[in-house]
């Protein structure tokens, strides 16, 4: 799939902008803070999963009352026009071929993007939340219908936490416990469904990740585990090796841990275990050495390579599963890599379908081979021939 055309109105620092993109390699060059990343962000928004940056409150250009993003996406034999409107204080609206769709997540059935930017190092170094979000997004990109699992889980978690927080409610204590038992059951069921989807997604991602890490790092190994205080390690390992998971088994495991922890959860006023506390453990090894925790022992370069391998593996997995190459958005990645890794990455990108890269260096490697080059200067985009 690829985006043929992108047009913006009152989006971030752009009053108006329009770009024709090549199905292959596209390069956006310009100095810092000119709006290159904003273009990648707009492309990512077309996939209906929200901004890859932390908040999307600032999408609307200062002084404007709404922002518009238009994209023309080619997928297989279909050409689809996507229009998105963002207004402050309400959710984004989306049109496909000028017809409103019920929610922006419908767009994830049309466009799939993989975004990699300088912040992505936080996949290794940052908080568990970023890693959970990465994996949860992969799950939805693989099968958009799975969005429901996440939505249900978020809601159950909020309700159960609200109940624990407001403990003890006035009135009959037996009623309170009976209510908690009902939410425990919902929590165990929704949590098990999400964890099962995560394990399946991670298991599918792993082989691609190992291959990419070796290629970019020129040897060495990456291992990723799923860390959870309620799942047995043996079960996690088996499922990551591809064994069929029984959601009922996960549900029972979560339910029985909830029973053990009940008094502590009531005392603390929040859910203490479950998928909302789980994490990915990334371990790396140089050639011939044993794997070590990437977060505490990896060098900056190794961590960056690990994060890049995860993202490229996401790309590979999606290409494999969707029978379509996702759109690859690489934000300023070359400047952070040493020359050898740069070369191996720019070789790799060449046969990865549509890729849009940004760089601050006018003579950046790749600019000679890019099919389309745009120059970005303070909210203006000009094509360079």
């Amino acid at each position: 799939m690829f985006v043929r055309k992108l047009a913006l109105e009152d989006f971030r620092n752009y009053e108006r902008a329009a770009l024709e993109l090549d199905p292959g390699l596209n390069l956006l060059i310009g100095r810092n803070a000119q709006g290159k990343t904003n273009l990648l962000e707009a492309l990512y928004l077309l996939s209906g999963l929200g901004s890859p940056r932390s908040s999307d409150s600032a999408l609307i250009r200062e002084g404007a009352d709404r922002a518009l993003v238009h994209g023309c996406v080619v997928r297989g034999s279909r050409t689809l026009e996507i229009d998105m409107e963002f207004r402050s204080g309400r959710g984004p609206r989306a049109l496909v071929n000028k017809t409103a769709v019920p929610g922006t997540r419908e767009l994830s059935e049309i466009t799939t993007c993989v975004f990699f930017g300088p912040d992505e190092l936080s996949l290794i170094k940052g908080s568990p939340e970023g890693r959970r979000r990465f994996l949860d997004d992969v799950i939805v990109k693989l099968r958009p219908a799975r969005f429901g699992i996440r939505r249900e889980w978020d809601r159950v978690l909020k309700q159960r936490n609200a109940l624990l927080r407001s403990w003890p409610r006035s009135g009959d204590p037996r009623t309170a416990v009976e209510t908690l038992e009902v939410w425990d059951e919902a929590f165990a069921r929704a949590g098990a469904a999400l964890a099962a989807a995560r394990l399946e997604g991670l298991g599918a991602l792993l082989p691609f990740c190992r291959k990419r890490y070796e290629a970019v790092a020129g040897g060495g190994r990456i291992e990723i585990g799923y860390v959870s205080s309620w799942l047995s390690e043996a079960l996690v390992l088996e499922s990551l090796d591809g064994a069929e998971l029984d959601p009922g088994e996960l549900q029972d495991a979560l339910a029985s841990r909830l029973r053990e922890l009940r008094s502590r959860e009531i005392e603390r006023g929040q859910s203490l275990i479950g998928p909302q506390r789980d994490d990915l453990a990334v371990r790396l090894a140089s050639p011939g050495e044993t794997v070590r925790d990437a977060r505490s022992f990896g060098s900056q370069g190794e961590q960056r390579t690990g994060a890049l391998a995860l993202k490229l593996a996401e790309f590979d997995l999606l290409s494999d599963a969707l029978d379509e190459t996702p759109i690859l958005l690489l934000d300023d990645v070359f400047s952070e890599l040493d020359p050898a890794r740069r070369a191996s990455l720019s070789d790799a990108v060449r046969d990865m379908g549509q890729a849009v890269l940004t760089s601050a260096e006018p003579g950046a490697k790749g600019s000679a081979t890019a099919n389309t080059v745009y120059e970005v200067v303070s909210g203006e985009v000009r094509r360079r021939d």
Binding site: R160, T175, T179, V182
Partner: protein, 203 residues
């Protein structure tokens, strides 16, 4: 700022569900343009509905008498109770003409976020209605739980099931699954999963 009576009207309208400040303003200025008669009719309707409508003593449906029309109706099957969240749910079920039993309106669902627990709903009153000894002519044989198929509705249904099951009354839940006339391909995974686990043998 508008003159005090206008601002007061806007503020009152903005407290209604689904009406934000902008809609409130639009409605307020529409009301200003009404003739004296039209405005009076609207105001009377609001006052009248508060004065004359009450909740049914038995099932908590809205009614203009002590008992609502379903509780009064002798032709209905008095051994079945269908439990719903709100009175409009009864209207929806009645439209099907598939059900001729009694109703019970909980007046909400269990939702800790909104601070609503079982004791805030008409659950104790429902249990009271189930007290007739089994075998007696007034005994309820089946309770159909027709709460919404969302997280809160499911939790409420689960809660009722745990409470009523031990009383020896049959408790059933409305089936949930695929919309009629829909496409399997576009069903979300949660709905489809539920439809699969609730599958039925073809007769």
């Amino acid at each position: 700022m508008y003159a005090e009576p206008i601002q007061r009207l806007i503020d009152e309208l903005a407290r209604l569900p689904g009406i934000g400040p902008k809609s409130a303003q639009r409605v307020a200025f529409h009301l200003l343009k009404l003739s004296e008669d039209d405005a009076g009719r609207l105001a009377d309707a609001i006052v009248d509905v508060k004065a004359r409508v009450r909740l049914c003593d038995v099932c908590f449906n809205v009614s203009d008498q002590e008992l609502c029309e379903y509780c009064r109706d002798d032709r209905r099957d008095r051994t079945m109770i269908c439990v719903v969240q709100e009175p409009p749910d009864i209207v929806a079920l009645e439209r099907t003409r598939e059900y001729d039993g009694l109703y019970h309106v909980l007046q909400g669902h269990i939702s800790p976020i909104e601070g609503i627990g079982p004791e805030d709903l008409r659950i104790a009153e429902l249990l009271e209605r189930l007290k007739a000894p089994p075998g007696s002519p007034e005994a309820i044989q089946e309770v159909i739980v027709a709460t919404n198929p969302n997280i809160e509705g499911e939790a409420t249904a689960m809660y009722l099931g745990r409470l009523i099951g031990p009383l020896g009354v049959k408790v059933t839940r409305l089936a949930s699954g695929l919309p009629v006339g829909g496409d399997l391909e576009y069903a979300d995974e949660v709905t489809l999963g539920r439809a699969l686990s609730g599958r039925r043998r073809i007769q």
